[in-house]
């Protein structure tokens, strides 16, 4: 078998996309999570990027957690810089504490003889030099001690090359490590007594808390925290670092409410430990936790952490937060989360249009009514959330009026209240201190609100649209399409701009304009995320395939007219800039669609518009995949090369030859032969034929049944069912004068009928049912042509059925036909 023909393939970027599609099917790829979650409300507008891991996403906690952690580290470094009166910078301290590329490990220093460090490479470190020269041995002793703790503490996990990271774990350390940690604890007790100030005492206290925590000595950990951290008056982020471990100790001491209280305080006040605090908080005994709060603001922080654990409706928690602390900045984070949830619940199903339920479940599962009921509930919830936000705007206690008005506007937009949306957008823009992020979101929302509010899409609308699009383009970081874009980790390219283009494509499609809808899709950097149920696999990998599946020939003519138009409006130029280089592909598609519709006249006309070298420049891999003679078909070869492959036909040549054969079969003698050749041509452009690429841009050995069921092409019965070929073989049989040749035509018709029955069975098969892949294959006895051969052409029967080489002899009878 000519195996290379059995892979879906085309050239260039489309080839990559299709080959990729094939590979992805094999490897289990299917878009999900952030790739299909739809939303246009950017939570950055809340101005709380330090809470990014807690945005509403499908990759919850994995979103920007490292950046938030680093920001927390920076707080400690800033404290050191202040401590050093800027004689040593934060960067220098960072290099000393967190760098690991020194010739000398500071942890190896002798705490009782620090002056010896002058003789070591450590002296080249600015901080060490500063402290030795000053001299300030007490501070240097702490830094050495901290490095010694680090060396022993990070024994539990190893998640960086060559280093070991501390990670929350309840694993018991080895006996050797226990001894080392206990020795360090004793050293800390000695050193803290010598420490000259609260700054250093707090840090020794912190180290002791950490040491006992990793010794799993929870009682001692809690005691040391009280003694050395809580009682220390120094203002420092380390208080919260220690508090995080204290919370863990309380949890293990079965003081769950107290643990939750401290986790909530850590969450509210400390960037570096925020993720850990979220993970530690259980919220099971909320009443007792709230009773520990010292004021309403702390109670609000506890409710905030509870709300952040709620993946469903969190409005009741938010109401508590607002009642206790209407000024809470974190309220904005919670509002943004709820808006993003509503977008996911309402917009994702509406815009992505996945097939919602397996066919075989449909009897027991009424998706339409479920979806309708859910939408009604979601809109009710949206109304409640909007009322909450409007109330906050009215009471004017929360300082961020810009964000609140923006939120109200967006909720109105989602609820199709465009006038109200615009009113709140105006208020958001006018609000003092409206951030750039808020302003950007205002403009985006106004654009969408406007686009959806208009009854008709007209040039005025498009001009205005373009201004906003251009503005948004400037705001977006340049994204180049990553060849490995199918990997789920690369989700960042699905940005606001792409989402907007996708939403506009949807808007235009709804308005009945598929031509422009496809052009909006052409603007998306990463089209794989553009999902519609129309795609064979539920999604498109290139905008070309949107047209391939959805556009009519009239749509394509309109598209080509727009591409070729001189004096385009600015908007038209913007829309077509990506499609202009693809002009010839669309002419190719136009002709191909005419061939699918069995109109070779119009196909030929279309192909004449292409330059001569189009077919040889391998645009779709034609050089490899249209390398066979489509007018030769034998009993079994199909994709296997044959002796007749000395000539090849590009699409233009094929269409022209089909027209010629049609004419010959109607006017010349040997009509049976010309009908037979036409039938061969039709057979070759089926799924089974050697020139499938005349009518398709991809082929796969896998899933023929799914494709048969899902594809929207109008020639499916011809492509999978070989119907047109069967008809022409029968025409040939009908006019043939030679019984042998007539028998050959029936033999070929039998082959087509066999394929047609397989296709008809596949159409009736129910995916997911037990017999889906065990569909009955039509038997030899069922084939009416084979039975006819047996009955009426007995003298040829055996050779035609059992001798594949006999075709040469039968073809030789063409002159008598």
């Amino acid at each position: 078998m000519k195996t290379f023909r059995t892979f879906a393939t085309v050239s260039g970027s489309i080839a990559a996309a299709l080959l990729l599609w094939f590979a992805l099917v094999q490897c289990g790829y299917f878009p999900w999570g952030e790739e299909v979650r739809f939303g246009l409300f950017n939570p950055d507008a809340a101005g709380l990027q330090q809470h990014k891991p807690f945005y509403f996403t499908t990759s919850f906690l994995n979103n920007g957690a490292d950046a938030v952690y680093d920001r927390g580290i920076d707080q400690n470094l800033d404290e050191w810089e202040t401590y050093f009166n800027k004689k040593c910078t934060a960067k220098m301290v960072k290099n000393l504490l967190y760098g690991n590329d020194f010739e000398f490990n500071l942890a190896d220093a002798d705490l009782d003889n620090l002056s010896q460090l002058k003789e070591t490479p450590a002296y080249t470190q600015p901080v060490v030099r500063y402290l030795l020269d000053k001299p300030d041995y007490e501070t240097l002793a702490y830094l050495v001690f901290a490095k010694q703790c680090e060396r022993e503490l990070v024994v539990f996990t190893y998640n960086e090359w060559g280093s070991q990271n501390e990670e929350e774990t309840d694993n018991l350390p080895s006996e050797e490590t226990r001894m080392a940690l206990n020795n360090l604890l004793k050293t800390a007790q000695t050193q803290i007594a010598k420490a000259p100030n609260d700054f250093l005492r707090l840090r020794y206290g912190y180290q002791m808390v950490v040491l006992t925590r990793y010794l799993n000595d929870w009682a001692q950990c809690a005691k040391l925290y009280k003694q050395y951290v809580e009682n220390n008056t120094a203002k420092s982020v380390l208080r919260y670092w220690a508090m995080q471990h204290y919370g863990t100790a309380l949890y293990h001491l079965d003081k769950k409410a107290e643990a939750d209280y401290h986790f909530a305080m850590v969450y509210a006040n400390c960037d570096a430990k925020r993720v850990r605090a979220w993970l530690g908080f259980e919220g099971e005994n909320l009443k007792a936790t709230l009773a520990l709060a010292k004021n309403n603001a702390q109670k609000a922080d506890i409710w905030t952490l509870k709300a952040l654990h709620n993946p469903g409706h969190a409005l009741s928690d938010m109401t508590q937060v607002y009642a206790l602390n209407p000024k809470s900045a974190l309220l904005k984070l919670l509002i943004a989360r709820e808006i993003n949830k509503l977008e996911d619940w309402l917009l994702t199903p509406r815009l992505t249009d996945f097939e919602p339920v397996s066919n075989f479940l449909k009897e027991d599962y009424d998706y339409e009514s479920i979806q309708k009921a859910n939408e009604t509930k979601d809109l009710e919830y949206l109304g409640k959330l909007l009322a909450f936000v409007v109330n906050a705007i009215t009471e004017a206690q929360n300082p961020d009026a810009a964000f609140l008005n923006l939120s109200a506007a967006y909720l109105c937009f989602m609820n199709n209240q465009f006038t109200d949306a615009n009113r709140y957008l105006d208020l958001a823009m006018k609000a003092p201190d409206a951030s750039e992020a808020v302003k950007r979101q205002v403009r985006l929302t106004r654009l969408m609100s406007f686009a959806n509010d208009k009854n008709a899409i007209n040039p005025d609308f498009e001009n205005r649209l373009l201004q906003d699009i251009r503005w948004l383009q400037q705001q977006m970081p340049k994204v180049t399409r990553n060849p490995d874009y199918y990997y789920e980790e690369n989700q960042s390219t699905w940005n606001e701009y792409d989402r907007l283009m996708y939403a506009l494509a949807y808007r235009y499609e709804n308005a009945g304009n598929r031509m422009k809808a496809g052009l909006f899709l052409s603007q998306i950097n990463n089209l794989l995320r553009a999902l519609r149920k129309d795609g064979v696999n539920g999604y498109y990998t290139d905008y070309f395939f949107y047209y391939d599946e959805n556009a009519s020939t009239a749509d394509l003519e309109q598209l080509l007219k727009l591409i070729d138009k001189t004096g385009k409006t600015e908007f038209e130029y913007f829309l077509t800039e990506k499609a202009i280089p693809d002009r010839n592909k669309f002419i190719d598609l136009l002709g191909t669609k005419h061939m699918r519709a069995d109109n070779f006249e119009l196909a030929s006309e279309a192909f004449k518009r292409l330059p001569d070298d189009y077919w040889s420049n391998n645009t779709f891999g034609y050089v490899q995949y249209l390398d066979a003679n489509p007018f030769y078909v034998d009993f079994y070869s199909e994709h296997i090369p044959t002796i007749a492959d000395t000539v090849q036909y590009n699409k233009a040549q094929f269409a022209a030859r089909m027209l010629e054969l049609k004419q010959l079969s109607e006017t010349q003698k040997n009509r049976a032969w010309y009908y037979f050749l036409q039938a061969n041509g039709y057979y070759s452009i089926t799924y089974y034929g050697n020139s499938w690429m005349q009518v398709r841009y991809g082929w796969t050995v896998n899933w023929p049944y799914n494709i048969a069921r899902l594809d929207k092409y109008e020639d499916q019965m011809n492509y999978f069912g070989c119907k047109r070929a069967e008809e022409l073989y029968q025409k040939a049989a009908a006019v043939s004068k030679d019984p042998g040749f007539t028998a050959l035509c029936h033999r070929m018709s039998g082959k087509c009928q066999h394929r047609r029955k397989i296709y008809e069975t596949a159409l009736k098969a129910v995916p997911g049912s037990d017999n889906y892949y065990d569909q009955p294959v039509p038997t030899f006895e069922e084939n009416t042509y084979y039975q006819l051969l047996k009955k009426d052409f007995g003298q040829f029967y055996d050779r035609l059925i059992n001798d594949c080489t006999s075709i040469t002899d039968f073809l030789a009878r063409k002159d008598k036909s």
């Binding site: 999900w32 090359w161 479920i370 490995d484």
Partner: protein, 354 residues
């Protein structure tokens, strides 16, 4: 009708079981000089094997455990980094051979900013040795790498294996996991420069698609990849069969996530998951369950594996057997899921390879 054929073969073999039991005792010797040995995978981050599991291993005649030591992932912006490195809370069991496994995410080899195969191998070897030290430096005869390589990553991954061999000359054998499509299309996908392959006969269909019946194991799908009279894979193959279960959540046709080890009993006990046809359930309320927000109409597909599935799986995998001595590894050692299987069951599965 392959399915029918397999069912009747299964019946026949059941009848033969007492005879086989007489012929075989203790080990996993089978006919025609084929020797198979059962093994298990340990894939969780903390190695804390329990007494019950040790007893199970002993009862099932298991002498080898494949243990995942760490992942290598492409973590932006650092590039290739180790992740989920194993911690040993309990000592490695005596008398059982350990085969460390390293899972490498395919995009590690796609990222142009990542390390070269040589330097990645160097770091991988160092990291592995450090973790082995934590495990008490057990004797290691074989190391396994697990990567679902693609055309774009093949050269880098294969280069990595070659370098790793050079970095760890003390290890006698290197094995690589092989997916079904890599067996079927080995001329296109390439053959890793390892000493052995391990055919992963599970996770064979797309878990994220609603139309999938059972993504863990679908023997009809498996049979399409392993036809009768298939060409022999160029590396001697060990076999891996699934012994795990999960439930897959869908909303509006979209994959939303997986509940690990959520079984039928637990699903039915929720009171809000109503059974539909086959292995599907639908949620009847909006609720938070296991930290996931379930909505009215969400669909849950329960994917489980039974003994008969494994027996048929063994029959199909038998088509890929290309060596006389190999392991039949079960993924993975979960005492609850392993409990229903007797020594005879495991023996039966091994005996099907002949």
């Amino acid at each position: 009708m392959p399915a029918l054929y397999m069912r009747s073969a299964f019946r026949l073999r059941l009848l033969c079981l007492p005879l086989l039991a007489l012929l075989v005792n203790g080990g996993c010797q089978t006919h025609n000089q084929i020797h198979t040995e059962p093994a298990f995978y340990w894939w969780t981050q903390n190695f804390d094997i329990q007494t019950e599991q040790l007893e199970q291993l002993q009862n099932l005649g298991v002498k080898t455990i494949y243990i995942k030591f760490f992942d290598i992932k492409n973590i932006a912006p650092k590039g290739a980094q180790p992740a989920a490195s194993i911690a040993f809370s309990s000592p490695l069991p005596a008398g059982i051979e350990i085969i460390p496994c390293i899972y490498i995410s395919n995009d590690v080899f796609l990222n142009p900013d990542t390390l070269t195969p040589d330097s990645l191998a160097q770091r991988t070897a160092a990291h592995l040795l450090k973790l082995l030290q934590n495990a008490g430096n057990p004797a290691i005869n074989e190391l396994q790498t697990d990567c679902d390589w693609s055309n774009a990553t093949r050269n880098a991954y294969f280069g990595f294996i070659k370098s790793l061999k050079k970095q760890l000359p003390q290890i006698q054998r290197f094995s690589a996991t092989i997916r079904l499509h890599q067996v079927k299309y080995f001329e296109k996908t390439g053959i890793p420069p390892a000493d052995r392959g391990l055919l992963m006969y599970y996770n064979m269909t797309n878990v994220k698609q609603l139309q999938t019946r059972n993504s863990i194991l679908d023997n009809r799908e498996g049979a399409r990849y392993l036809p009768r009279q298939m060409p022999a894979y160029p590396l001697p193959l060990d076999m891996a069969l699934p012994m795990f279960e999960w439930s897959v959540l869908f909303r509006n046709g979209q994959f939303k996530g997986i509940f690990n080890s959520l079984n039928r009993h637990e699903i039915e006990n929720t009171g809000f998951l109503k059974p539909l046809k086959n292995n599907f359930f639908t949620c009847t309320i909006d609720t938070v369950f296991e930290n996931m927000y379930l909505r009215n109409g969400d669909l849950l597909r329960l994917e489980t594996i039974g003994l008969s599935d494994l027996q048929i799986a063994a029959d199909i995998c038998n088509r890929a057997v290309n060596t006389n001595t190999f392991r039949v590894a079960f993924f993975h050692l979960n005492s609850t899921l392993v409990k229903p299987y007797t020594h005879e069951n495991i023996q039966d599965i091994c005996h099907r390879f002949r």
